[in-house]
């Protein structure tokens, strides 16, 4: 055997005698193992009882500390969205399950008046490995007192004070502010890296959504050692078990200061009370600040945040007036308020002079087809200001015939139509400015020259949002600067220090000649202030308002004119009125859009003029404090 071995591995080194070294290795192994076993002996046998006491019956609980969300504040410091404490009841499964869960549930059901269905849901959810199962949010103080009093019989049941969102102005401004909802499962997949967990709230719609990262703070953690009943343990045990890993303090969310005027929005809410559906945008033409974004019908964010009743949800889902849609940034036919585009184009391109007149006979012939003016008898000779004043269609047919679709579109883009204004709220619609190219791809028979005659009136395929209209008139009002809409003026931290400011920003200069602007302004002035103007009947006594009415046909006029009240609601005209005041140095632009309400001058104009009047009355009231302030003598505190 040995012989064969040696021949087989000829040339290979034979094994050297390593017996001594094997002993050394074994010795090393045994010594090292004995050291480790000694360590186990020390930990498990000598100090075992100590560690056992520390770990048994002790359970580490990480309690999420919700950061209070930042407030949304209006320009005058009125809070439009804030937090109040809400008492929320949770079940902590790994404590709850260790006790008589049936009895606990029964007690819970009695105290909180849970339905059987809710109880079953809880039963199901405590089986899964989750940190906590919400039972009910926002319970009454009486229920909290009852739960606290019977705490020993309710192991694993916890009441926590959690900030709950409230909106003091209810449905007013709901679209601009938004509301809060629990994060959905889909959201969680995307957002869990950012620290969102199940049961967290997230902003939906409006500023709550657009400024989610700003408003939301970062949550903290309170790590506690509790016993099997969930009662926190003493300091010594806590220190022994978790040392210094105690608490991460939450960072509260930042406040968002808006340019909105809550009082004005309430005024608007009153002014449109007779109309079921529409939108009002008010802004300061001097810097593009949004004073009011109002869409009707609204929802009440207070009932949408937290537990939404199925009745409320059904009411909103089934409403024909699309309450969830923010109509201030949704596009509609603008109608005659769009005529400023044609007027500017005609004067700039030299198609018509400022004082050139066109005679209106009540219609305009093009290619064998008669385009009618809204006034059957015609307006007679009108210049550009007169055409705006009377809203004469024939004047605009004539210039559109000469200018063509693309030149009109070019000017429409200048005014900011056809593109998003950049307010970044509620998925703003860009609207639509039809061009030849657009018609070629979208119209059934391609482009026809006649389309421009519809486009100039804000009909046909032209779509604009109330916000775009307000911004365009703001640019006319301030002498030619188109601003970005500015809805947030600054971000503040919870101590009230300014962290970030949003200064007003000019989007572009219109680049119109002074004579053009003056002529358009003259026309808008005459609409309200001269006999024959479409809104002359509403002229206020002590204020000069300029404006423009619009009545957008939603449905093609057939051979017979049908009165609005005889049409189905969805076929009725949209009523528009855009106004700014004072006419000399405008401070406010108000665009009123009333969906399917009828004539612009009869329906929308009174609303717009009421809003402007209320705005100036309020301004006056604030400027003369002796009339409005309480009779109490002024103290030092009042000066602050």
């Amino acid at each position: 055997m040995t012989n064969r071995h040696s021949t087989h591995s000829a040339g290979r080194r034979e094994k050297r005698a390593g017996g001594g070294r094997y002993l050394w290795l074994v010795a090393i192994f045994i010594v090292a193992f004995l050291c480790i076993i000694a360590r186990f002996w020390y930990l498990q046998v000598v100090r075992g009882d100590e560690y056992w006491r520390a770990s048994s019956n002790n359970i580490i609980r990480d309690i999420d500390l919700r950061a209070p969300r930042g407030n949304i504040i209006d320009r005058n410091g009125h809070v439009m969205a804030e937090n109040r404490p809400s008492f929320d009841v949770f079940v902590v499964p790994h404590i709850f399950n260790k006790h008589d869960s049936a009895q606990t549930l029964e007690l819970l059901q009695r105290y909180l008046h849970l339905s059987d269905h809710e109880v079953n849901t809880i039963k199901k959810r405590v089986q899964s490995k989750v940190a906590q199962v919400p039972v009910r949010r926002d319970v009454t103080r009486r229920a909290v007192a009852a739960l606290e009093a019977d705490r020993l019989r309710l192991p694993g049941v916890e009441v926590r004070v959690i900030p709950h969102r409230v909106y003091p102005y209810n449905h007013v401004g709901a679209h601009a502010l938004g509301y809060m909802a629990e994060v959905s499962t889909d959201d969680l997949q995307r957002l869990s890296p950012y620290g969102y967990t199940r049961g967290d709230y997230i902003g939906r719609m409006g500023l709550e959504r657009s400024f989610e990262e700003v408003l939301r703070g970062s949550p903290g953690i309170d790590r506690q050692v509790v016993d099997v009943r969930g009662i926190p343990q003493g300091e010594a045990e806590t220190q022994f078990l978790i040392g210094d890993y105690r608490k991460i303090t939450p960072v509260p969310g930042r406040d968002v200061v808006t340019t909105l005027d809550a009082g004005l929005m309430e005024t608007i809410d009153q002014a449109v009370r007779d109309y079921p559906s529409g939108a009002v945008v008010a802004l300061d033409p001097r810097d593009g600040s949004i004073l009011a974004l109002y869409s009707k019908p609204g929802i009440n964010p207070n009932s949408w945040t937290g537990r939404l009743s199925s009745m409320e949800k059904r009411r909103v889902d089934n409403s024909p007036f699309t309450p969830m849609l923010d109509k201030t940034v949704n596009a509609y036919f603008p109608g005659s308020v769009y005529k400023i585009v044609g007027a500017a184009a005609a004067l700039e391109e030299g198609v018509e002079g400022v004082h050139d007149e066109i005679t209106c006979h009540g219609g305009y012939m093009l290619g064998g087809r008669r385009f009618r003016c809204w006034k059957r008898g015609g307006h007679g000779p009108v210049d550009v200001a007169g055409a705006l004043q009377h809203s004469c269609d024939v004047y605009f047919y004539s210039i559109a015939d000469k200018l063509g679709t693309d030149v009109l579109a070019e000017y429409a883009y200048k005014f900011g139509f056809g593109e998003e204004s950049g307010i970044s709220l509620n998925s703003e619609s860009p609207g639509r400015v039809p061009t030849k190219e657009w018609h070629r791809t979208h119209s059934p028979h391609g482009y026809q020259h006649g389309f421009s005659l519809n486009a100039v009136l804000g009909q046909g395929n032209t779509m604009s949002t109330p916000l775009q209209v307000a911004l365009a008139y703001g640019a006319i009002a301030n002498g030619g600067d188109l601003y970005y809409p500015r809805i947030v003026s600054e971000i503040r931290n919870s101590e009230g220090e300014t962290l970030f400011e949003y200064p007003p920003k000019i989007r572009r200069a219109l680049g119109l000649k002074d004579s053009t602007l003056a002529a358009i302004k003259d026309g808008l002035y005459k609409v309200v202030n001269e006999k024959g103007g479409t809104a002359f009947a509403l002229k206020p006594d002590n204020l000069e308002i300029s404006g423009k009415s619009g009545t957008a046909q939603v449905h093609a006029i057939g051979s017979v004119r049908v009165a609005n009240r005889d049409k189905a609601f969805q076929l009725r005209d949209h009523a528009w009125f855009v106004a700014y005041a004072p006419s000399k140095d405008p401070e406010i632009v108000v665009a009123v859009f009333l969906q399917h309400a009828g004539g612009g001058s009869s329906e929308a104009a009174p609303v717009a003029i009421d809003v402007i009047k209320a705005y100036f009355e309020e301004k006056e009231r604030l400027a003369s404090p002796q009339l409005s302030a309480s009779p109490a003598p002024a103290s030092a505190g009042d000066l602050d």
Binding site: H5, R12, Y22, L25, I37, R47, I59, K129, G243
Partner: protein, 372 residues
């Protein structure tokens, strides 16, 4: 005699069933332990995956046994070169996790070539010492060449950075050199050099997180365990197991998720908590049996290469076991070394199985393949 089926029959008769028994006992403990701990991790069935890897490992042992280890010996340098090449690939295209680049993404599996290096070093060092003849114990200069070979692989592991694995590889090499025989003077000089290089390693070689670990280790007896939450919880888990343990799936420390990485590096904390000192004695006994069996196989090997492989495999297991258990009981800083056959993870399992496959191979070919 040269009939293949005949050979296969002889091979089968030479399987070391003692080694297999120890292997199955430890693997079983590992899988059972993961099953028991899995409750802490939302029901992910790690134990089933681990059982799968164990099966793959057994297949590797079987496959490796069919190849004569002298073929592996012949290919030693190629195997080592491949391992180094893979490490270079990691440096270039590796996947980075937690700040270190250790993995190659194979699509279905994140392979860790530094694990392969452990095996490759055993093979190449055994081959080197088998080839060189020397009289008496090794001198310092005779060590320069093999040390350079080993370092050419270790350097890439250090750069990943993976201090733990580098030290394991060096420890294996150290044991093999010790087995080869060294002069006492040489050992003394190396020890002195090592001590002198410590400050340099601290300031230039170690990343901040590694320094933090060492600091947190040195402060282990302070009341405030700054950075060693993990170790503190692991120590409490072990201690609270007392003599007989808390029972399967009743380890509160683990079940409540106190101990991070309780499936991988800290898997033994679950065993210690649930089965106490007795459970640990059982585990240590099995490990010791494995080590002694490896040395026994080494002493019975037919040539020097086989003997060195046996020592290398024993050294691999020994250093893993000691470093891991010392780490989870707070005696060494946390360096991320797994407990063989107990910790969850494919790379670790496959490495250990490759090593055991080599060992089995040496055992089966302790004498020529002829029927007695």
């Amino acid at each position: 005699m040269h009939n293949p089926s005949d050979q296969f029959r002889i091979l089968l008769s030479r399987v070391d069933w003692v080694l297999m028994g120890i292997l199955f006992a430890l693997g079983g403990i590992g899988i059972f332990n993961l099953y028991s701990a899995a409750g802490a991790t939302d029901g992910f069935t790690v134990h089933a995956v681990q059982a799968g890897w164990f099966g793959v490992g057994i297949a590797i042992i079987a496959g490796l046994s069919l190849v004569d280890y002298r073929l592996i010996e012949r290919w030693a340098y190629i195997i080592f070169g491949t391992a180094v090449f893979l490490l270079v690939l990691v440096m270039l295209f590796g996947t980075e996790l937690n700040g270190s680049k250790r993995w190659l993404n194979l699509g279905f599996f994140l392979a860790q070539p530094s694990e392969l290096l452990k095996i490759a070093v055993i093979i190449v060092v055994a081959r080197y010492f088998n080839d060189r003849d020397h009289e008496g114990p090794l001198g310092l200069f005779q060590l320069v060449k093999p040390t350079a070979i080993v370092l050419s692989g270790v350097i890439f592991v250090l750069m990943q950075p993976d201090l733990g694995t580098s030290l394991i590889v060096l420890a294996i090499y150290g044991f093999m050199v010790f087995f080869e025989g060294m002069r006492w003077q040489s050992i003394l000089i190396i020890a002195l050099l090592g001590l002198m290089s410590l400050p340099f390693a601290w300031f230039f070689g170690m990343k901040e997180y590694q320094q933090d670990r060492v600091i947190s280790f040195l402060q282990i007896n302070d009341d405030h365990l700054g950075d060693s939450w993990q170790v503190r919880q692991s120590v409490i888990a072990f201690g609270s197991g007392r003599v007989w343990g808390k029972g399967t799936q009743d380890g509160t420390q683990i079940q409540q998720g106190f101990v991070p990485e309780h499936e991988t590096d800290f898997a033994s904390a679950n065993w210690g908590e649930e089965h106490g000192f007795m459970g640990m004695l059982l585990m240590m006994g099995l490990f010791m049996a494995l080590l002694l069996r490896a040395l026994w196989i080494s002493s019975n090997a037919r040539d020097h290469f086989g003997a060195q492989v046996g020592v290398g495999v024993a050294a691999l297991f020994f250093s893993h076991i000691v470093v891991n258990l010392a780490m989870v009981t707070g005696m060494l800083p946390v360096v991320g070394i797994t407990l063989p056959l107990i910790s969850y993870g494919g790379s670790s399992m496959l490495t250990m199985m490759l090593a055991l496959g080599l060992l089995m191979n040496v055992h089966m070919r302790r004498s020529p393949l002829v029927s007695r």
